[in-house]
Assembly symmetry: C2
Homo-oligomer: 303 residues x 2
């Protein structure tokens, strides 16, 4: 278990092999800034795909000195940048990918291309990881960005992706809370039926490498004293590593409530393709961009 | 608009006519404590249904002195308490209802009874109202407790209930944000289609007395600077009075994130029946119980 983002950064730094980040459309000061910070911290080595002259100018203007370790592929067009970044990953020349100054859809279109893309038979889902006030460790949340209304099978795959990401970060058996509005199975509430089914799949060995609890309410999943008060006994209660929301809207709203209203810090990425993909939005803070890079470095598979 | 719970309490106190709270299964120290506090503050007059001897003992033991204004109906059995409380409301002898020491289901069963209950042709929905750090006023959220997966028609009724509650509290035209994961209409995401439809119903005069915006993301609905950064122009952006979540799970999780993780304060009740019904859980704090009574007093119709 990781207590906070600092512990996550230390984990990555302790790895003797630095992860290579492939930045698509790297002619972007904000993204390069985050990559440079991660480089300075010993987190990543940069593989930059984009307009080389612009990239070099941004580096010079801002003093981004990668000590000559940077690999730059001079590509002009956005779509071509995406294609090149994807092909570099396919060739094993990068450990994870990040979107620079381009549309998310343009990058994902290349990722999901059946012949030249990065799909490996899994679902692609968003995982966010958060440092939130009052919680004793990092908490992961999924899916808040990719699958609007997942069915049972998709939820199982969402759990697998989240669990695999934490395994890559050294967790042995993450605790997974399948959130519902209440902790009781109610046949009239489909998400509670799914939650109970996911717990059963875990008990039967169909979902492995983790402990799944559900249906479980938010307050019980995160707060041991509330679980005790309500008489809910489970190793996951008050100690969840991963919360799975019943749908994307719930995940998205919860993540934003944590990171904006509750004063938390977040990092996020897409998992389930050959490598993690960092897709921070224009509005993301520098901190969110940096920690998302750390998260992808920590959660990518060769760790 | 009400800045905080204190302003809400002041609003109720300024009303020359005190609201009568009907407490079902009033032989409960925690509930009586909250009712007594509200009585002392000039918020309510107590109508107590339950075991009179136990009620009198709790009052004496705790010094709950209602100055003789209390009306007590001596009823032993839980179900009979529920029936009596409901009939008192039907007879106009109370302005809202609160659950004491009994099962929620036992009370609601009497409320929804077609012949002797309190339904008035509306949907029954849960409304929560919150004071959250960093937001400039109270914010209402619905539905986080009654309707697992509302369809479009049910969502319109959920909005109507929430809006009517704020009208009772003196709001003229509350701003309603129909939350989705993103602010774009996506035909593949049903809740975004519903959100756009609700906005249109508002523009066409089918949902009245409010301004509806949707689909709109959480961060844009609550934070003006994010709305500005993302170029989202709407009177609701950064100034929502009501947020409508696409489903109950999202509402429930958001409410708990606000009240527990973000350090907010909440009050909640069921609306859509003849009168509001306060159903705070065993685990609710004294503060939540008190403010829920204030909320029901403020939001009930004769205000």
């Amino acid at each position: 278990m990781l207590k906070n983002f600092e512990a996550m950064a230390e984990l990555v730094k302790a790895n003797p092999v630095k992860k290579r980040i492939v930045l698509a459309c790297a002619h972007d000061e904000h993204s390069l800034d985050a990559v440079y910070e991660a480089y300075q911290e010993g987190i990543v080595e940069p593989v930059l795909v984009g307009r080389e002259a612009e990239i070099r100018k941004i580096m010079a203007d801002n003093g981004f000195d990668f000590g000559g370790s940077e690999v730059i592929y001079d590509v002009d067009d956005d779509i071509e940048c995406a294609k090149k970044a994807v092909s570099l990953i396919r060739e094993g020349k990068g450990d994870f990918m990040m979107k620079g100054k381009m549309q998310t859809a343009d990058l994902l279109k290349q990722v999901v291309n059946k012949e030249t893309g990065l799909q490996v038979g899994k679902i692609m889902s968003h995982v966010g990881i958060f440092e939130i006030p009052g919680y004793h460790k990092l908490i992961m949340q999924s899916d808040g960005g990719m699958i609007p209304n997942p069915d049972l099978e998709q939820k199982a795959k969402i759990i697998n992706n989240a669990v695999e990401t934490l395994h890559n970060m050294g967790y042995e058996e993450p605790k997974v809370a399948v959130l519902c509005a209440a902790e009781k199975l109610n046949p009239k509430v489909p998400e509670s039926v799914d939650a109970a089914a996911l717990k059963e799949m875990n008990e039967k060995g169909e979902i492995t490498g983790c402990i799944v609890e559900g249906p479980i309410s938010y307050d019980i999943a995160l707060y041991k004293e509330i679980a005790d008060f309500k008489g809910f006994d489970s190793p996951v209660a008050g100690d969840a590593d991963i919360v799975i929301t019943p749908n994307m809207a719930a995940g998205n709203i919860l993540g934003k409530s944590w990171s904006i209203t509750a004063g938390g810090t977040m990092a996020g990425m897409i998992v389930g393709a050959k490598v993690p993909i960092v897709l921070t939005s224009r509005g993301a803070t520098a901190e969110e961009k940096f920690y998302s890079i750390v998260f992808a470095a920590a959660g990518s598979s060769s760790n």
